[in-house]
Structure formats: structure tokens, C-alpha cells
Symmetry: C2
Subunit: 252 residues, 2 copies
């Protein structure tokens, strides 16, 4: 089984997955092991960073969701600079680069600077977190649609890009990334858009890691939850499928 | 880095990912290598099956989307039977077990029969196929929502579970799995629900494999495409993000 190798002067935008190192892909492992430079996010499991070779330089490019990310341009420029110096550069991102990971922006910067690059997709937390919690985000008897949403700069601003009415009416499961701070608003918006008060909700913190915790509630009851009491990062999973958890718990 | 091992008498429902063996997770590789029995779908890359040990028995449990799947119960019963005989059983599924993969049904059957089981999530083709085609399914400037939909038994039946109007109004990217046969209907439904005629569409066949091909079109032009001329399996990706492909192609 042949796995592509990263070349000198290339940048690979690599998804580190949702947290559990066992969910790394073979492409990711190979790239990390071969990298001269590893430019990594804050939320990468330390076990994953230990895969890097002894000579690999680690560069921390952490950004916390919610804070202004003025340094996105700096990160992209650093990747270009290292590639031009002919290093093997791995940009290791928490989760998947293209699922609310801003990988598109970094890829465009590399393209514009004629740097050869690849994207290594990963398991995304919106699938794996619920799975580890015993929640199939699709189930034949329940839903034909699952939507991933980021509430980051989309929920409480006036120019919200999220059409709540449409989202509430898809009839499927909705998984919110990086939206915990706006939990109360999310629940209110969905309820005002016609979602049932009894719709089950799961708050999944530290998805797929040994620290994963799950809080089960309903849309109506969300308003009594103080988001600051819930560990981050946290997914908000909304939909009837959450009820399958009682039978399918397997992580604990 | 410690990776859990499958025990005798356990069944692991393992996602084989979208096709490229390099997108297998470490959990998947370890489980396949340790399995006594590998009960696998039709669409698994042969390179992945060669990871099984010499003594491993391969059981083919293929089902093609669209055909009646009367044998789902038989598959579940076979898993229960093998686990009771104290084998290490891996149920290897194309894609992710819980993203339109019917893993929930198999997991429930195992639960009901007191068989210990685990779910190993994988990279899903709806993320990775577009990524390999240079399409970030989310992009900060474009969308805050991405929806995965299966058209399987949902599109042209009278009791359709897909709310087309809601889907067309989410303002995000929509990725359809196993829906190629209904391409014309999908496009018509979205157009009748208010989607722009010029909305870009990508048809991605054999996602992430060496055979991957991409056809670019628009919702309005879909009606002139004969689905039987497009290779399966095929994802239908709908949304403005498809236009980024011209800059981000990296697979070719």
C-alpha cells in the first residue's frame, strides 16, 4: 500500500482530527513524521505532536475561536516562507482543514504564491464526537439530512448568515461547532423558527478524548444552562437522534 | 501513543473512509490487522483488505445503494453469531458508519444481543471528496452551514423526508450522497425552492481514489446531464464554494 510522501518545498494542510490520536489518518501520520516544520494549532493532542521527528521544528500558531484572528495572514506568510526555504512543511490543524478550519484561506495564499500544497482531510468532530457519545448523526428511521453549522460570527450579529428558519425546518440533525457561548441564542432562534421544545440536545465537550463529557438536555431547557459551566471545545448536537445515546453509549 | 485493541468477542464497526487507503485511521488499521473476521461492504478499496492478517476470514456483505437491502438483518445476525463464538470481528463499512452508513442499525442489533461493540468513525466522502477536488466545503467568506443529504428513498417518493425549501434556503453548501440517479429531480427541487439557476454544482465520482473525476456544472444545466453517463459512486456538491476549485485543484 503506497502512501504519498511530502516533498521538500511543499506545504501540506493536515487535519489532526477531533482529538483521539487513533483517529489520525495514515496520510497525517506520515506527513507529521516527515515534516521539517510543524506549524500547529492550540488544540492538538500532545500525543500527536510527539510523532514528529527529533529534528522537526514546532511552531505554535494557536488561535482561540471567538478572538480576533489578525494573525491568519502571518500564519499563511510563514508557510510560504518555510516552503521557499525548501523545507517540508506540515500545517497541522485541529479537526478538518475545510470544516470551519480556515484551510481554504491558507490554501489560497499558497496558491497565490505558487507553493505546491496538498490538503489531508480528517475525521471531523461533528461526526466523531457524537459517535463516541453513542449518537448516530444519521439513522435510517430518523433523518436524511445532517447540517454542520458554525455560530462563530454568525449567530448574534445583525448580518447573521444563518437562516434559522430554514435550519429548523430541514428535519434533520444539526451540529454546531464553536458555538457554546451562544447556546441560549441558538436554542431560542431554533424554537422561534418552529423547532419542538422537546427536541433533544447533547453538549459534547472534548470530543473523542479521554476527557469527553456529554450533557443531555432539550431545546426548551437550554435556557437554564450557563455555558460557562460547560467545558470547551464543545459541540451542540440537536435532533431526535440524540435519544439513541441511551442505547448506544460505548465510550464510557 | 496507546491505541485501543479489539478484544475477542467484540465487534467493531469500522469506517474504511472514502476510498484512498491513506485516509484510513490508525484505529481502523489496527482493527483490520487484528481481526479474525472482516465483514466488508462492496465498495472497499482492495488495498485496504490486504491489510488483514493471513488467517483472517473475509465475509462479503455488499449491498448496492438503491436495491432492497433485505439482508441488513442477516448481516447483523452474522456479527452477533461471530462475536458469540468469541472471534474478533470487524465490520468494515465504506465511508463512515454513522453518515448514511446504517451503522446505527447494526449497533442497535449488537446492543440488543449484549455484544460489546465500538464505533470507529472515519473521514467521510462528503468532506474528503470535495477537498481532493479543491473545494473547501466551508469557507469563511462564503458559508456558515454545510448540509449532508442522502437522496436514497427521500427524493422522489411522496413521503419525502427532505424539506427542499428549507435546504435551498440554508444559504450553505449541500452535499448529496448516493443521489446521482435523481440528479435532475434534485436540481429541479432546489430551483423550485428558490436556489439560483447559476448555483455551481460539482459531480465528484470515485471520491479520493485514483479514479476520481469531477464534472462542473450549474443547477440550471443539470437537466441536460444524463446521470447514467457519470461514474458511481458520485457525490453532488451544490454551492458557491465549488467555484474555488479553479484555484485550489491539487489532486490532478
Amino acid at each position: 500500500m503506497k502512501i504519498d510522501k511530502i516533498d521538500s518545498g511543499e506545504v501540506w494542510l493536515v487535519g489532526a482530527g477531533p482529538g483521539d490520536p487513533g483517529l489520525l489518518t495514515l496520510h497525517a501520520v506520515n506527513a507529521i513524521q516527515a515534516a521539517d516544520y510543524l506549524v500547529h494549532d492550540e488544540l492538538i493532542n500532545p500525543d500527536i505532536l510527539t510523532l514528529a521527528s527529533e529534528n522537526c521544528q514546532l511552531i505554535y500558531a494557536g488561535k482561540r475561536g471567538g478572538k480576533p484572528s489578525a494573525n491568519q495572514v502571518d500564519i499563511s506568510l510563514k508557510l510560504v516562507e518555510l516552503a521557499r526555504e525548501n523545507y517540508k512543511v506540515v500545517r497541522l490543524k485541529g479537526g478538518d482543514p475545510f470544516v470551519f478550519g480556515r484551510g481554504g484561506e491558507e490554501a489560497l495564499a499558497l496558491y497565490e504564491n505558487n507553493i505546491p500544497f496538498k490538503i489531508v482531510p480528517s475525521v471531523t468532530s461533528g461526526v466523531a464526537g457524537p459517535a463516541y457519545a453513542g449518537i448516530p448523526i444519521t439513522h435510517r428511521e430518523y433523518n436524511s439530512v445532517v447540517s454542520f453549522v458554525t455560530g462563530h460570527h454568525a449567530v448574534d450579529s445583525h448580518d447573521s448568515r444563518v437562516n434559522w428558519h430554514a435550519l429548523a425546518q430541514t428535519g434533520g440533525v444539526i451540529v454546531f461547532y464553536m458555538t457554546l457561548n451562544r447556546l441560549n441564542l441558538v436554542a431560542r432562534q431554533l424554537l422561534e423558527s418552529g423547532a419542538k421544545r422537546s427536541t433533544p440536545v447533547a453538549l459534547i465537550s472534548n470530543a473523542t478524548t479521554r476527557l469527553q463529557t456529554v450533557v443531555e438536555t432539550t431545546l426548551a431547557e437550554c435556557k437554564s444552562i450557563d455555558p460557562s459551566t460547560i467545558a470547551k471545545p464543545c459541540l451542540i448536537v440537536v435532533g431526535d437522534n440524540v435519544n439513541l445515546r441511551q442505547q448506544l453509549k460505548w465510550f464510557d
